[in-house]
Each structure stands twice: as C-alpha cells, then as structure tokens.
C-alpha cells in the first residue's frame, strides 16, 4: 500500500513538473511582443529593451524557467502585465468563486446521477427507468451553456418579468469574508441563492452522464454470478444492492469522476461566463483580450496542480474501494 502511494505521488509530481514546463513555454510560443505593447507605439528600442530587461525576458530560457518555478514555490506567480496586480492576489479572490461552483455542482451531480443510476438499474425497463433514461439522454446532449441560457431565460427572465424574482440575475456573493463594497450582500443564504442556477446548470448535464454510466455499471455487476449467489442465499434485495453490488459498480464511477475533474474545471469557466461570476475562468477569459499571459498561465498552472492533486485523492479512494489495485 505504501509503495502504491509513493508511486502515485512521484507520478503526480512528475506530471506537475511537466505541466509547469508546458505552461511556462507558452509564454515563449506566443508570437506577440509584450514589451512593445506595453510601451506603446511610439516607444524607442531602448525603452523596449528596458522593459524586456525589467520583465526578465532577455535571459536564457532555462534561467527564466528557474526563476519562474522559484517564485511560484514562494507564492509569487508574477504580476499581470497591465495593472501590476499580483497574479496570486487575483487567484486568491477568484478561487473561492470557482471552488464554490465546482464543489456544489459536483456534490449535486454525484447524488443525482449516481442515485438515479442505481434506481434505474434496480428496476430495469420499468416506467421509472425509461423516463429517467429519456430525461438523462436529453440533458446529456445539451451543452452546459445552452442549458444555462435556457434556465436563465425561463427561470430568471420570464419569471422576473412576471413578478416572481426567485432567482437572482448574476454575480457571486461570498459566504464568508468581506463582500464587494458595491454589493453589500453576504452570508450563507445569499451565497446559496446566487449559486443555485449555476449549480443546476453544471450539475444536470453531468448528472445525466453519470445516470447512464452508473446504470450500465450496476446492470453489469447485478448480472454477475456472485450476486446471483447472494440472492439465492436469501439475502434481502436491499442488502444485495447496497452491500454487495454497489462497491464493485462504483469503482468505474470513481475512475470516471477523476477523469471528469479536469472537465469540471472547464465547465466552471462556461458557468462563470454565463452567470457573470468572477471566478478563475472568467478572469482567464478577460485576460485573453489583453493578451495578459501571466494571469492566464498562472491560473492554468494552479488549476492543473489542483487537478493532479484531486486525481491523486481519487486514486486513493479507488484503492480503498478496490483492493486489487494496492498490489501494484
């Protein structure tokens, strides 16, 4: 077991290293010229050279990479090109937003998806099963932003115009901490209130995928001989499903969750854009218009590391569920 953990840990570190190199290299594949943009059109070559020097862009590659990593490990991811705000501070402000969206949605979709998948599998071909299947299929084929737009349209726009403003328009409201001076709301319920639509948007689509997936996995496991033996022994169906079948059926679901973590990060970008929440994704998008590479690369690096760490945890959970993996 220890060996398993160590191997996974080292692999994770290697991946983080490679990701950092890849993200770092993006700075240099960019055909743009930052110094020139910053200096303006009328700048002299000396000014440009000065800016280059200040930004450290005139040193050899591996040197710059070394600086980059050194600073990153000390919590400094550079400053954005235009307003000189530290990237770390941008991330610190934006991260809670993205995390709120992501975690809430993840919990919601797991409960919805896995739950309905199990229900479907336990009563195959029943009305419940067929209805769930059709619903799942439709939502599964809907891209997040289409669903989000429609939800916004119906649940926000139409309802509000009709006088029932159950759902807020947009914007994120923090649970803890100081709110925006322009928007003094904060606290648990406002936080949830603003997050319901984003959560539902993000969760429904993925839940649909998980419904199908869990159903398939459960069906396969329930047809195994050892389940048949358990039933023949007279064990109640409930115990058969929850104590015996679920464990094996869930392992592929857990694997899938690990894979989906990276996709989750992407889904939050869309949700943030749709609902006007200033999370990590939203910040990256606005940074693109300015070609503000430090922000983009910094966010990418942090999120990638997060995905690797999360995958590591998922692997551990998988090892707990499936002892065979530990013999690695």
């Amino acid at each position: 077991m220890i060996r398993f953990i160590i191997v996974r840990l080292l692999t994770g570190l290697l991946v983080v290293f490679l990701v950092s190199v890849a993200t770092f290299l993006m700075f240099f594949a960019a055909p743009n010229d930052v110094a020139r943009t910053m200096a303006g059109k009328a700048a002299t070559p000396e000014t440009i050279a000065l800016i280059n020097h200040r930004l450290g862009l005139d040193q050899p590659l591996w040197h710059q990479y070394g600086h980059f990593i050194w600073r990153a490990l000390h919590g400094d991811l550079g400053y954005d090109y235009y307003h000189q705000r530290s990237v770390v501070s941008i991330i610190k402000k934006a991260a809670p937003v993205s995390l709120s969206i992501a975690f809430g949605a993840a919990i919601l979709w797991m409960i919805l998806g896995v739950g309905s998948g199990i229900i479907s599998a336990v009563r195959p071909r029943s009305i419940m099963d067929r209805t769930l299947n059709v619903i799942a299929l439709i939502f599964y084929s809907m891209p997040t932003f289409v669903l989000g737009s429609m939800l916004l349209f119906f649940l926000y726009f139409k309802l509000t115009s009709a006088g029932h403003s159950w759902f807020p328009a947009a914007g994120y409201v923090p649970w803890f901490g100081k709110p925006d001076p322009s928007n003094p709301e904060h606290g648990f319920w406002p936080w949830m209130h603003h997050l319901i639509l984003p959560w539902v948007t993000l969760a429904l689509v993925t839940a649909a995928a998980y419904t199908r997936f869990t159903r398939g996995s459960m069906l396969e496991v329930l047809s195994e001989d050892y389940i048949r033996t358990a039933r023949a022994k007279g064990i109640s169906e409930r115990r058969v499903v929850f104590r015996h079948a679920l464990r094996s059926a869930l392992t592929p679901v857990v694997t899938q969750f690990g894979i989906d973590l990276a996709i989750l990060a992407g889904g939050t970008v869309v949700t943030e854009q749709l609902f006007g929440m200033h999370g990590l994704g939203w910040n990256s998008l606005t940074a693109i218009t300015n070609q503000d590479l430090p922000v983009i690369v910094g966010i990418l690096l942090v999120v990638s590391v997060f995905v690797v760490v999360a995958n590591f945890i998922v692997d551990l959970v998988y090892a707990v569920l499936d002892p065979r993996v530990r013999l690695y």
Partner: protein
C-alpha cells in the same frame, strides 16, 4: 431387372447455410434498432445540409452574411422574430438566422469530424507504439498522456488560443489535442493485454516484423473500440467547439457558427428580447448532439450486444 423409372426421384430441397462474419451480424442488429435508424437518418440530413450549404442557401435565397437593413431589423434596430421573409428570424445585424444555421452546420460538423479524425489517428498510432514496444517508448508516451489528461480542457484552450490566435486551424488542432489522449489510453490498454495472446506469439514465430504485427494482427482487434470511441468523440468535439465559440475563442466573426450565434445573443442580454436567437441555434445543437449520441449508442449495441442480453434476463 426393373425398368428405369421415367422420372428421377425428387431430391430434397438443399438449404445452404451461409456463414456471416461479425460485421454482417452487427449490421443486422443495427437494422433492427429503430431508434438508432432514426438517429442515423437525422444525422444524414444534417450532414447533407452541411455539405450542400451554399446550394441550400441559394435555393432559399438567403445569405448568411448579408445584413438585411430593410426587412431584417425593426424600427429600433432590433432583430425581428420569425416572419415571412426570414423564417427563423434575424440576428442583431439583420442577418437571416436560418441561413446562418445552415452554413453553421458545415462548420460545426466539419470541425467536429475533422478534429476527431486527427485525434483518433494520432491516438491509435501512439497507443499501438506504447502498448507494443513498452519500455522507454511506453514510459514517455504514458507520461505525455498523463499531462494532457491533467490539463483542464477549457482553461488550457484559453491559453492555447491566447498564444496561437484564433483561426479554424487552431480550433481543429486544439480540439484534436485534447481528444487523442483518451483514445491512446484505450488502445494502449488493449494492446498490452492482446500482445500476450498466443496468436501474437505465432506471428512472431513466423518471422513477422513489429510493424506487421501492429498493423495486421493487432489493429483488426482494435477496430471495434476505435469505432465506438469515434462515435462518442464526434459529438463531444462538436460541443467543445460550440463552447469555445461561445466563449469567444472559436473561429473569428463573422463566420456563422452555432456556438458563436448563441454567444452573440447573450451579449448585452439581447436574448431577453430575441428568444429565437438562442433557441434555434441551441435547439439545432442539442438535436445534432442527441442524434450523434443515439447513433453512437446504436452502433455500440450493434457491435457489442452484451448489455442487451443483460436486459433481456
């Protein structure tokens, strides 16, 4: 001695038993699946629309880029809903929505299929190499896979577009970049288990070269997962392309792309006045994805009817 009979005794009718290969059997199963057939028909229509987009548009008498100042906008310069001259309404610049949808089909489907094709080709080759040769080749490719799969797709796409700019080529390559990894992983896994089978040993004992073993022996055993994955991946790439367009990272304006159309509609809350600008592109997108998904399900069931048997119990 008896006289020879006037007629020969009647022979029993001979029944020929025809052997059907696995593909023929799969095709028969597919033909019985009504849902899959409908999905295939819908898909065929969409693909035909995509291919013949300019022809269709000229038949309809509309141009996706033409800004109809006369009939396209109302007095306040806002788009009009479905009407006689513009069946599905117009967008913010007075362009006909239907024409843009038709043309958008070309782009969305084209990019979806092209990027999937590239991803599958690259993924299969690298998966074969990694799985068959193992050793250092496998280590390198496996690490590469880990890195690509760890990158959050949309964020990395944001970064890549920031670096390389917006263009159809970049979009196709970015989409392919994120999809080859899962194919490679699947192929690699299959190859690792296949290479221990006796028929591979037999091939080696006959003196087959590694290339021959990979492409003549292993590849036919991979065709099924390849087809299944391809059918899964095309809708994913179509959707991802739409997402990129929605975020403003896709093909630059004014090209009509379904995701881009929705993005334009979101700007400034325009959709609140003009619901058709979100519903029609959104609806078409969902319909296409749904058709592909159902077709993919049908293909999978036809090729591997295990689940069907499970359900019949």
């Amino acid at each position: 001695m008896s006289a020879t009979p006037a007629t020969a005794p009647p022979t029993a009718p001979t029944t020929t038993v025809v052997a059907r290969g696995p593909w023929a059997l799969a095709w028969r199963r597919f033909r019985k699946d009504k849902v899959a057939l409908i999905a295939a028909a819908v898909m065929a229509v969409i693909i035909l629309v995509a291919i013949f987009a300019p022809v269709i548009n000229s038949i309809l008498g509309q141009d996706p880029n033409y800004q109809d100042q006369v009939n396209g906008l109302d007095m306040n310069g806002l788009p009009l809903g479905p009407s006689g001259s513009h069946w599905l309404g117009t967008d913010a610049l007075g362009r006909d929505v239907l024409a843009r949808l038709v043309y958008g089909a070309r782009i969305s489907i084209g990019i979806g299929i092209l990027s999937t094709g590239i991803a599958v080709a690259v993924g299969v080759v690298l998966g074969l190499l990694a799985g068959y040769f193992r050793g250092i080749v496998d280590v390198v490719i496996a690490r590469l896979l880990d890195v690509v799969l760890a990158l959050p797709v949309v964020l990395a796409a944001v970064a890549l577009v920031a670096v390389f700019g917006q263009s159809p080529v970049v979009t196709v390559l970015v989409l392919a970049f994120f999809s080859w990894a899962t194919m490679a992983r699947i192929v690699r896994g299959q190859v690792i288990s296949l290479r221990e089978r006796e028929f591979i040993e037999a091939a080696r004992s006959l003196g087959a070269s590694s290339t021959r073993i990979m492409f003549v022996e292993l590849l036919p055993n991979l065709v099924m997962p390849i087809i299944i994955y391809f059918s899964l991946l095309v809708p994913v790439n179509i959707v991802t392309n739409a997402v990129l367009a929605f975020l403003g990272l896709g093909i630059p304006v004014p090209t009509a792309d379904w995701g881009g159309m929705i993005s334009d509609a979101e700007a400034g809350g325009l959709y609140q006045q003009a619901w058709w600008l979100v519903f029609f592109p959104g609806g078409v997108l969902v319909l296409t994805t749904l058709a592909f998904n159902l077709l993919g399900d049908g293909i999978r069931d036809a090729l591997d009817p295990r689940i069907e048997r499970l359900l019949r119990k």
